[in-house]
């Protein structure tokens, strides 16, 4: 018998395709898929979030670390709570929704709304505004977030997005999904622009209801908008990270006030001296 080993042609067991092509197609495809998925989830949560009873949200927030809560500044705390209550009274909050103001002795020029109707106001913000009206607009804006249930929507979005990536991670390579999830989570961590606009509108209406005019409402945004990126003090950076397009907000707020006939002049309230 004559045994033979003919020379086999190349490319039977391997692909001739350029490896970078595979990489680019896969990366774009998977990224697109994830963006669509996260978008759909966010969209669904906008409807589902407000259906969660506020009492559940409150119970949940009690378990969340209370790093901002402190008894060290009773004077500031009391004053802020009073102002917050007055502004909340203008917002026609749903039954059972309560707003709790917290003073935080930090240089951060910002305020934030979180789960359970908790609003944190940083010392940096109070120092940055010239009048009570300017501060009231920011607080009313944060109350607006609570009213529209934005914190629970954001939480749900974060949780479900993490879940999606965890499921993906179980099927794929950890490094691959690790990177993708870091990119993906960036898009859901903060409130989106539409939620900011919604809260601005609710907030401005509350400021008008409380003071009878909207003078000073855009004071804080004008201050922040006046800072070009070159001269942004470090402590204001956090504000820009969570509140984009300051200039547009001022324009929108002024238009809203004009449409409703809310007077843009009136007496400004002075800030108390602590």
């Amino acid at each position: 018998m004559n045994y033979q080993n003919p020379k086999l042609p190349e490319g039977i067991n391997t692909s001739r395709e350029h490896p970078l092509k595979d990489f680019i197609v896969l990366l774009l495809g998977v990224t697109l898929l994830l963006v669509v998925l996260v978008f759909l989830i966010s969209f669904a949560l906008r409807w589902l979030g407000p259906l969660v009873p506020f009492s559940w949200e409150k119970a949940l927030s009690n378990r969340v670390a209370t790093e901002f809560v402190t008894d060290e500044f009773p004077e500031q705390q009391q004053w802020l709570q009073k102002l917050t209550d007055e502004l909340a009274a203008q917002q026609d909050l749903p039954e059972g929704m309560t707003i709790t103001a917290h003073y935080s002795d930090s240089e951060t020029v910002n305020a934030l709304a979180t789960l359970g109707g908790n609003i944190i106001i940083f010392r940096g913000l109070i120092e940055a505004v010239d009048s009570e009206n300017g501060l009231a607009m920011v607080i009313a804006h944060e109350i607006g977030h609570v009213k529209h249930r934005h914190p629970i929507v954001a939480l749900g979005r974060g949780l479900i997005t993490s879940l999606v990536f965890a499921v993906l991670g179980a099927g794929g390579d950890s490094a691959a999904t690790g990177v993708l999830s870091k990119f993906g989570l960036l898009t859901v961590l903060s409130f989106n622009r539409e939620q900011e606009r919604e809260s601005d509108e609710t907030g401005l209406a509350a400021v008008y209801g409380h003071y009878g005019h909207v003078n000073g409402a855009t004071e804080f945004f004008e201050k922040m908008g006046g800072l070009t990126s070159g001269e942004t003090p470090l402590r204001a950076k956090e504000f820009f990270a969570t509140h984009p397009a300051t200039q547009n907000r001022i324009i929108d707020l002024k238009r809203l006030a004009a449409q409703n006939g809310w007077p843009s002049s009136g007496e400004l309230e002075a800030l108390p001296v602590f």
Binding site: M1, S15, L33, G172, V179, K182
Partner: protein, 150 residues
Amino acid sequence: MSSFELYLFFGLLAGGYVIGSYLERKHYRSIFAREEQFQDVLLIAAKTPDESLSIEHSEMVTGSVVVSVDYFKRFVAGLRNLVGGRVSSYESLLDRGRREAVLRMKAEAKKQGAKMIFNVKLETASISKGAGKRIGSVEVLAYGTALRIS
């Protein structure tokens, strides 16, 4: 993820691609050359040789290789795992592994003066078991019976 981690990731990805492709091309050149060199050692899958052959000596020969993927290929395979399909980035890895193992077996046979290897078998073992997804290496083992024909 900090920007440092991100740079590190892209650095590893680019480094894995550049170095990995270079080494793969180099390995294939070496495989082609040695396949030419060992062309005269025949591989036969049949269990038993034809009765007409007069066997002077028979001995088992083996060739084994452990080969690993680069960071880039593993990342692409990770993406591929999400959607399914042909994992082309691993195909060349296994192709190289099989051919290298066969070449090492042939080299051993040639040393003994054998010109034929019967009952050739290939086995593949993943040695990443237990190491999670950190190691993407396989062992390919080729073995058979080398015959010296008088």
